[in-house]
């Protein structure tokens, strides 16, 4: 067998003569055709005709290429059993068409027909494999059923389970007709029920029995039962001593137990969750499983949660306490991880149990058992990298009195009692992180009347820690924290002993200190969560001086701890906000986001990158190639990747999971982002697009009802925020996260632009020009109607503004309006009354566009403590600028499309009846004029920005901007000094300023290359 790409060229039958064999293996197709034809005529063996047809289909002419399709069609219609080798030949010969022709209507049924006639042949499995490779579940199910019937008494149990599994997969697949769905569901379920009964009622299941025997067979049964069966049946089987979750656990198999907890929770079956977790944990204590095998934190959390929901809560909680105490008694024997899980379980119990059930402590204000337990936990784990994350959620839940006692008594005591200098700075760093966390928790503030003594109060709260008037978070506490953290930073910098000890620690405490300082400065700067319909730039109302101080502190820390990904990711996002995309890229690249992790991590850098810095696509060759090639490799076949491996290994649960994962990956928002960002950048530089987005192999199954899924992984961000508020990524992202709505709108607007940009091939000269023109017009009208319906549907959803920046909202709205305008314009010929809607829509478009331009050109509000140079409002506004351009171009292209249509109709139809109304043309010219003017203005804006950044004296201006401020208040002055101290003085910041400037210049240079027409 020789290989040509993915499709192996089949070996010819041994009976074929050497001459023909050689010509075939050499790919000498004219010789093969000649020789095969000769052999066919002399031997009358249809196999030679098949060789000839297959060879013809390797030639260039369309008719010859398609000859194999004709042959396949004839075979399908003939109802005879095809020859296996002929099938192999045809499948190979038709390989280039298999994405276009439906395998399930052609080769799939032929394979199934062959297997039915040859059920015992070892080649039958090959037929199954072929059908699965083309994800023809109908034929695969038929083949597997035939195989099962033919191999009833074999020890190879896979035949039976392939059949059941494929019947199940078909029943939940769109390939199944609605009429058959119920039958297949019932069939799969009943077969498995029968197998479960056999296992339940037999003393021992032999490999030849049709009961459940292997681990994977059990999992398949429960998955199918969960999907297709009755809840009561699932619950009964789950408790079965032979099949159930506990019996599986005793055999060291956790999967069913884990899955069942999710299922039970979704049904609200807390009594059962409680019993199941209790019995599972007891297995370890009773010696039926390894002691700590089930000591996962999740199990403890579920047990405790269930105990508080069952009918007899008090008794249930006592039982939890009793089990936990038994584990605590033996925890010294446990692995460090399980010891920690048990400690966390104790903490969890303390927080979930009613206070009346906890051992009462003498009244020390807020020093409750909850506070004491956090302290006890930290005594053991404070120096571990995960310590803060471990206690964060619990600290967030403390009342103010408890939080005060925790910071002022517990943490202070831990500090006092620790004489080791290094350990003290670790503890201090942890203390600052916890204090920062508490500033984000609303219980640390009390409401303050908006008017006091007739005077309106500027701040709505009073901080319960410092008693000052505050916003959320308390500015005074944040400033205090910055100053203190900077002092600790300085202490480390001046202490050789501590510095020497740092490499041996889990984490450099300076990193935590810098993160606290950086996060506190971001909050003081006024950075707000970017959760929808934001102002032109998220930084518009943010104090630029404080924001830049945060960035410089974090950037300076990156030099000390370059391998910390949390810090790196935060900086990437901050530099993107700041308009420094090329510098953000420099920080992004060392993380080496490649291959499999791209789908989840690439949006952190690439989302909206085309609108921020189109120049990156010019300066970095193949900027998004790795992403595209990832999807090309992973989604190349219509079947899920590695599916046959799972079939042949009998990994039934893997088959179900791989199928689900594949379906999700094909609907990835990151995939849509990849396509759209590349296309926008290509258009920005006047490049040639690969083709319409709608015909991309990645989008062929995407319709309006397809749920596009965002799986961005924020797990590596260092999140110091409390659990009641948004996480850090919501503050530092340019706008709302990737979403189904945004992905669909991007897809639809790209389709609209594809329609406007379509140009027929130069040699396209239809024989019947009038008929072709009518067809074209109908196609345009149908496409516009479809796009307008879809765009309107997405834009009219009440939650849509939450998923878009204001610039994106305007752009999508304008495109939707334009599609409506074009639809009306083109579908209304001069024979019809003048369409008044066109003028009304035009007015709406101009109004929306004017609003977008105004928001872009409006200067930054004054009044912040620092005065940024004018250029700042441009560089932080690249995203809006991009949409001003895109909106203008959409208007311009739309106008050009209508005018061109009108002119073509005028030229074709001299009566003038099919051309458009002059009012429509006037409206389009008006739109074009507005857009052209806006683009000219934008061009000048970019030029001015480039010139401004090219001027001298920027270094000092920037340094003055960031550091040279005379602060009004003493505390703010202290903050400024603290920042200088952490970064090592103003001189140390010069290199940073140069990088920021350079990145702005690169961004502006890229914009200078963008076409404004």
């Amino acid at each position: 067998m020789s290989f040509y790409g993915r499709h192996p060229r089949p070996a010819l039958k041994n009976s074929v003569d050497v001459q023909l064999q050689t010509a075939f293996s050499d790919g000498n197709w004219p010789s093969v055709i000649r020789l095969a034809d000769k052999r066919f005529k002399s031997l009358k063996d249809p196999y030679y005709e098949a060789i000839k047809i297959s060879a013809e289909s390797q030639l260039d002419s369309a008719a010859e290429k398609c000859s194999v399709l004709v042959a396949i069609d004839a075979l399908v219609k003939s109802k005879t059993v095809p020859d296996y080798d002929v099938l192999e030949l045809y499948e190979w010969a038709a390989r280039d068409f298999l994405e276009d022709i439906d395998y399930a209507d052609t080769l799939g049924p032929l394979r199934a027909r062959w297997v039915k006639a040859n059920p015992k042949s070892p080649l039958a499995v090959q037929c199954l494999q072929s059908c699965l490779e083309y994800w023809d579940l109908v034929s695969a199910q038929q083949i597997s059923a035939t195989l099962d019937k033919a191999n009833v008494n074999t020890t190879d149990r896979r035949y039976m389970y392939w059949s059941v599994l494929l019947t199940f997969l078909l029943s939940i697949s769109p390939q199944c007709t609605e009429n058959s769905r119920k039958i297949y569901s019932l069939l799969a379920l009943k077969q498995l029920e029968r197998a479960a009964d056999i296992t339940e009622n037999s003393p021992k299941v032999e490999p030849t029995d049709r009961g459940l025997l292997t681990e994977e067979e059990f999992y398949l049964y429960f998955r199918v039962l969960r999907t297709l069966g009755f809840k009561e049946d699932y619950l009964n089987r789950l408790e079965s001593p032979k099949l159930g979750a506990l019996s599986q656990l005793k055999a060291d198999r956790k999967v069913l137990f884990w899955e069942s907890l999710d299922v039970l929770e979704s049904w609200g079956e807390w009594d059962r969750i409680f019993d199941l977790c209790k019995q599972a944990l007891s297995l370890g204590l009773d010696g039926e499983t390894p002691e700590f095998y089930v000591c996962d934190l999740r199990i403890w959390k579920k047990l405790v949660a269930a105990a508080s929901k069952v009918a007899n809560e008090e008794s249930a909680l006592e039982e939890v306490q009793s089990i936990l105490n038994r584990f605590i008694a033996i925890k010294d024997k446990a692995n460090a991880m399980y010891r920690k899980n048990i400690s966390l379980a104790l903490l969890e119990t303390t927080f979930r149990f009613p206070a009346t059930l906890l051992t009462p402590s003498p009244d020390h204000g807020g020093l409750t058992p909850r506070v004491i337990q956090i302290g006890l936990f930290l005594e053991n784990y404070y120096d571990r990298l995960a310590a803060f994350d471990d206690v964060k959620d619990y600290v967030s839940q403390l009342s103010f009195e408890e939080a005060k006692a925790f910071t002022e008594i517990v943490l202070s005591k831990m500090l006092e009692e620790n004489s080791d200098k290094t350990k003290r700075v670790i503890l201090k760093a942890l203390e600052y992180k916890i204090r920062y966390l508490l500033t984000t928790c609303p219980q640390t503030l009390s409401h303050h009347p908006s008017v006091v003594d007739g005077e309106e109060q500027a701040k709505p709260y009073r901080c319960r820690f410092c008693s000052k008037l505050a916003s959320l978070p308390c500015e005074h506490c944040l400033k205090q924290m910055i100053v203190e953290a900077a002092d600790t930073h300085k202490q480390i910098a001046n202490d050789a002993e501590i510095k020497d000890a740092i490499p041996k620690l889990d984490r450099d405490p300076r990193l935590d200190l810098s993160l606290v300082i950086g996060n506190a400065l971001l909050k003081l700067a006024g950075l707000k969560p970017q959760t929808g319909d934001i102002a032109p730039s998220p930084l518009r109302d943010v104090d630029s001086g404080l924001f830049l101080r945060a960035v410089v502190v974090l950037d300076s820390q990156l030099k000390e701890t370059p391998s910390d990904t949390g810090l790196r990711l935060l900086l990437v996002k901050l530099y993107l906000l700041l308009g420094c995309a090329s510098y953000a890229q420099q920080i992004w690249i060392p993380m080496d986001v490649k291959r499999t992790i791209q789908d989840a991590l690439s949006p952190l850098f690439f989302d909206r990158i085309g609108s921020l810095s189109p120049g990156l696509f010019q300066s970095t060759r193949g900027l998004m190639d790795p992403l595209r090639s990832y999807y090309s490799n992973s989604l190349r076949d219509s079947c899920p990747l590695r599916i046959w491996d799972a079939f042949s290994a009998g990994s039934y649960s893997s088959i179900l999971d791989l199928t689900e994962y594949d379906s999700r990956l094909r609907r990835s928002s990151t995939l849509m982002m990849t396509l759209v960002e590349e296309r926008r950048a290509t258009r920005a530089f006047g490049g040639k697009l690969d083709g319409d987005i709608e015909v991309s192999p990645f989008t062929e199954d995407i319709g309006d009802n397809t749920e596009l899924v965002n799986k961005t992984d924020y797990g590596s961000f260092t999140n110091l925020e409390g659990s009641q508020g948004p996480p850090i990524q919501d503050f530092v992202r340019l706008g709302p996260d990737l979403s189904n709505v945004r992905s669909h709108l991007s897809f639809l607007t790209e389709q609209y632009l594809d329609l406007l940009g379509f140009k027929p091939p130069k040699d396209y000269k239809p024989a019947k020009a009038n008929e072709a023109a009518i067809r074209d017009r109908n196609y345009i009208i149908e496409t516009l109607a479809r796009l307008n319906n879809s765009l309107t549907m997405f834009l009219h959803k009440s939650e849509t503004p939450l998923f878009l920046t204001s610039a994106e909202m305007t752009y999508n709205t304008v495109v939707s309006l334009l599609s409506a305008s074009l639809l009306t314009s083109i579908s209304t010929s001069r024979a019809d009354p003048v369409p008044k809607a066109v003028c009304a829509i035009g007015s709406s478009v101009r109004s929306a566009f004017a609003h977008l331009r105004t928001s872009f050109y409006t200067p930054l509000p004054t009044g912040s403590s620092s005065s940024p140079p004018d250029i700042y409002s441009s560089v932080i506004n690249f995203h809006t600028m991009s949409y001003v351009r895109d909106t203008a171009l959409a208007m311009k292209y739309s106008a050009a499309f209508v005018i061109s249509f009108h002119e073509k109709e005028l030229a074709r139809d001299r009566t003038g009846k099919s051309s458009l109304h002059k009012e429509v043309i006037a409206e389009m010219k008006a739109l074009d004029a507005v857009a052209t003017k806006a683009l000219m203005e934008l061009k000048k804006h970019v030029q001015k920005m480039k010139e401004s950044l090219g001027e001298g004296g920027w270094l000092d201006r920037m340094l003055d901007w960031v550091f040279g401020l005379e602060e009004d208040d003493e505390q703010e002055d202290e903050v400024a000094k603290a920042v200088e101290q952490v970064i090592g003085g103003r001189a140390e910041a010069e290199e940073w300023v140069s990088k920021v400037l350079e990145s702005w210049r690169e961004g502006a240079k890229g914009w200078g290359m963008v076409r404004m027409e």
């Binding site: 994977e216 996962d296 692995n335 799972a646 999971d657 791989l658 590596s716």
Partner: protein, 190 residues
Amino acid sequence: MANFRRFRPEDLNKLSKCNLDPLTETYELGFYLQYYAKWPSLFQVAEDQNGNIIGYIMGKLESSPDVYKFSEHYLPWHAHITAVTVAPEARRLGIGKLLTEQLEVAADANDAFFVDLFVRSTNHKAITFYKSMGYSIYRVVKDYYGDHSSDPTKDTEDAYDMRKPMKRDVKLEHIRENGEKFEVDPNDVW
């Protein structure tokens, strides 16, 4: 903070804590899925309370091709540890050991004679770790790695093929005491 369970494909969206660490290699999707498809019980993960993967082990079950049956280098049915990694924040908690033990349970359940793995001969920390778990050096594969982890003047590095016998190897026939002295060529490793 950790749960131990079998890998699921959705975990690939939660790998950042492990795979953004420069010491962890990221493979093509097909590589992870192949292991999940063929040997799901030998692909185990540790996750934190937010579902982030903080450690994982990938292993496979195999024997040498039959054509090598009579070769001295023939490997009978055994489990092989392909990759094991723990996120920086989850180190020093014995997660690597627990994951390895879980793979060994799966190896026993699949009737393997032994579990083996390759480690750089200069990775003393890993060698000590595996020795503490009952692994011993079976042979030295000369110049197995195409680079050297600590000496830039060298362009290759030896691998230790380490093994731990499983229940099936009752007579301990598949391990040896002085494995450091048995040197083989990379071509002898299949």
